[in-house]
């Protein structure tokens, strides 16, 4: 009985694998990065919705929901910018304040390795130097709230 189940499972797997192979022969997923696309798309579309269509953030959240499922965003209203992050990528779209007829454009799209950054900071002497100086400054400042805690 066990053998039969194993044989049937193997047959099922091979049939499924064959079907998958047929599909992949026709179309291969393209060479792009899903996380990257989600971050870039959200930055651009949220920026255009907010600053070109001049819609509310609530409305813009509904029309960007496909990319927002994955990516997170932050709006900088004073500079008319939208910053997004997702899966180790970050993007930025800016509204062209000087030439509003050109709307929003993606100005930054880069790989952002948070862990790598933290490790880089820890390994950097200057980081500790700055941290120590900041600590001492606060410790010596009686007005600094946090300095009271330090003492």
């Amino acid at each position: 009985m066990k053998k039969l189940i194993i044989i049937l499972s193997l047959l099922t797997v091979s049939v499924l694998a064959k079907d998958k192979k047929d599909d992949s022969e026709i179309v291969q997923p393209r060479k792009y990065n899903f996380s990257e696309s989600a971050a870039l798309a959200l930055a651009k579309e949220m920026c255009s919705c907010l600053y070109v269509s001049e819609q509310s953030e609530k409305y813009c959240r509904t029309v960007t929901k496909e990319s927002r499922i994955f990516a997170r965003y932050k709006v900088k209203k004073s500079k008319k910018q939208v910053h997004t992050t997702w899966g180790g990528y970050r993007a930025q779209a800016d509204f062209n304040i000087e030439k509003p007829q050109f709307g929003c454009k993606l100005v930054k799209a880069e790989r952002f390795d948070r862990l790598k950054k933290v490790w880089h900071d820890i390994a950097d002497e200057k980081y500790w130097d700055a941290y120590l100086r900041d600590y001492l400054r606060r410790a010596n400042n009686p007005r600094d709230r946090r300095s009271r805690r330090l003492r």
Binding site: D23, I26, V27, P29, R30, Y32, N33, F34, E36, S37, A38, L40, A41, K44, S48, C49, V52, S53, E54, Q55, S56, Y59, T62, V63, E66, Y89, K99, P100, Q101, F102, G103, C104, K105, L106, V107, A109, E110, R111
Partner: protein, 395 residues
């Protein structure tokens, strides 16, 4: 006695009658060719309005159309709707915070706008339909790609290996990665020019955002002056038509995103339709040649007549296409008839993501622009929209 020639004699003389006949004939021809703006409302400073009934609509049946397009059961969201009949605005409606001057994302309606902008450049002789694309993008100087001509780009038959709507899932689509990739977002047209080739140019129609992106890149290279290029769409088109509410976004290289990123109002976008209904003429000025208007909205892209060679690619040889406009003709290999059976074969459409639509029916001198925020799966049914609209025009 010498005969006295009075004005009456002169008018009745054969010679004078001949001259009057010739003058009348020339004026008629000019009016017919729409070079003289006789009794035609031109909306450059804004659309003139007309009552629905006076425009020949049955208001009761028209309400059924309105009930459908503005339904609020959460199936789709209409934001702006404008209907133009015989050059008069007969209906306009707005929702979701939009009003007549508030711009809406056009998505792929931008492609049709790009077609018209390219048409103006052809009319001015800035570019030629037979220009090889590698003349502007040396990256295309390679196998198969070296044969791409501008008319292939305008007919979406360049032959690039590109999937606008991926059969496995939309998220894998090249239409997403063509803008949203670190490698191409700075200069999208250049990124397109580096795409691998799959077919010989002119042999396979393939709807895609990449082609109008490349087209606007070609125009930029042809103009070869950033300042002139930046103002070109406004100088050559928008300002002439009085389109005041238009945003046309650029990538970081300063190239217009001809495939999807323009914004406008329904009122302004309808002016593009009116330009086409008037065979490219606007208040006596030729903006597009009649030949280009035919190329864009009448002549089916030649590659569509070649049987499809790829399986599972959506939108392949199922709907007819001109130059960045959808047509409603029946292809010999398409047994299902017209793509939009409720509308006549002459229907011309600009269509975009989230249900953006402009429909033109030349024989009825009718334009409908519908801008919306439909979901990916819950979209307005365009065929039903035309069915109800046309029913309201029946006598």
């Amino acid at each position: 006695m010498t005969p006295r020639y009075t004005l009456r004699h002169m008018l009745y003389s054969d010679a004078m009658r001949g001259i009057l006949f010739i003058i009348t004939f020339i004026v008629n021809q000019l009016v017919y060719a729409q070079l003289l703006p006789v009794n035609k409302p031109w909306p450059t400073k804004g659309w003139q309005t007309k009552d629905l009934k006076a425009a020949g609509f049955n208001t009761e049946k028209f309400n059924k159309f309105l009930d459908y397009v503005w339904e609020d059961e959460g199936n789709f969201k209409s934001d702006q709707i404008v209907i133009i009949k015989d050059g008069y605005l007969v209906y306009e409606g707005y929702s979701n915070g939009y009003h007549k001057d508030k711009k809406h994302m056009l998505w792929s309606l931008t492609k049709s706008m790009t077609s018209i902008i390219m048409g103006t450049a052809l009319q001015k002789g800035i570019i030629d339909k037979n220009d090889p694309a590698h003349k502007y993008f040396p990256t295309l100087n390679r196998d198969k790609a070296e044969d791409i001509k501008l008319h292939h780009v305008l007919n979406m038959s360049s032959g690039f290996d590109f999937y606008e709507e991926h059969p496995i899932h939309d998220i894998f689509s090249d239409s997403v990665s063509v803008y949203y990739s670190r490698h191409s977002y700075k200069n999208v047209a250049l990124g397109v020019s580096k795409l691998p080739m799959k077919h010989n140019p002119g042999t396979q129609f393939k709807y895609g955002t990449h082609e109008p992106m490349l087209a606007m890149g070609i125009l930029k290279k042809a103009i070869n002056n950033q300042e002139v290029y930046d103002s070109y769409p406004w100088d050559a088109l928008f300002n002439k038509l009085g389109m005041k509410n238009v945003t046309f976004e650029q990538d970081l290289s300063g190239t217009f995103m001809g495939g999807a990123y323009a914004h406008s109002t329904a009122r302004d976008y309808a002016k593009l339709g009116y330009l086409l209904l008037n065979k490219g003429k606007w208040e006596g000025e030729e903006i597009l040649t009649e030949e280009y208007v035919d190329f864009a909205i009448k002549k089916v892209a030649p590659a569509l007549y070649i049987p499809k060679t790829e399986k599972k690619q959506q939108r392949l040889n199922v709907e007819t296409y001109g130059a960045y406009f959808w047509l409603n003709g029946v292809l010999p290999m398409n047994e299902n008839g017209r793509p939009y059976p409720a509308a006549p074969e002459e229907l011309v459409q600009a269509m975009g993501f989230r249900g953006q639509t402009m429909g033109l029916i030349p024989s009825k001198n009718l334009i409908i622009v519908r801008l919306g925020s439909d979901g990916v799966y819950k979209k307005i049914k365009r065929n039903k929209m035309y069915e109800l609209l046309l029913a309201s025009m029946e006598e």
